[in-house]
Symmetry: C2
Subunit: 106 residues, 2 copies
Amino acid sequence: MSSQAAAIDAVFHALAVPARRAMVERLSLGPASVTELAKPLAISLPAVAQHLEVLVTSGLVRTKKTGRVRVCHIEPAALRTTEDWIAKRRSNWARCLDRLAKELGE
Amino acid sequence: MSSQAAAIDAVFHALAVPARRAMVERLSLGPASVTELAKPLAISLPAVAQHLEVLVTSGLVRTKKTGRVRVCHIEPAALRTTEDWIAKRRSNWARCLDRLAKELGE
DNA sequence: TTAATAGTTAAGTTGTTACTGTAGTATTGC
DNA sequence: GCAATACTACAGTAACAACTTAACTATTAA
């Protein structure tokens, strides 16, 4: 698996879990601490920290600890890469349909 | 979880596995039978059939069996929905940055 | 009709992962 | 200093998912 494919893999893996998507949704509205991320979720703080680690590993989220607070924020580039992957497959399929239509037209 | 959220969940869950993404990549180039899908993958045919079922359940793929061959094709709407989810988070974050820049400018 | 092809069903194994509770460290506020 | 806060580390559990093999059905081709 190329490093590009590995990056895609990590992001899709990260986004496959509702709790992690909820964290990304929250972070898309602005930076947040780990505790703030945990607040709307019905899971323990260690569970949130574990999800956060997955998000960080995938490149979707970056964090910086200042004092005792870890502030988290979105990394849009990782979202972009994944969006592009999907768009590519859609456009491939559209091209395939076009080709088919052309062949039928002949 | 709303039905919209459930749909998003199913698609991200489906795309989280490399074998299934490979199947979607193949199908984006045009329809294929189950055996054709299995050919480039290093897993058994039943495994491919199981992955296919996940893809169908998620709405990413549709199939039609004619005779003994099941032909599979992409359903672009499901890809689109997921692409939109990601785009939304990116745009939210961009708006957040804009707002921050404006506040700093004042 | 027989053999080959294409896929399906079912059961079992194995590894992963999401989660918990407990106990800890580091930082901040009183 | 002391208590509260914010997180971190660790160990264990329980559920899930990916995959396999083996056996089966249905369709097509010779």
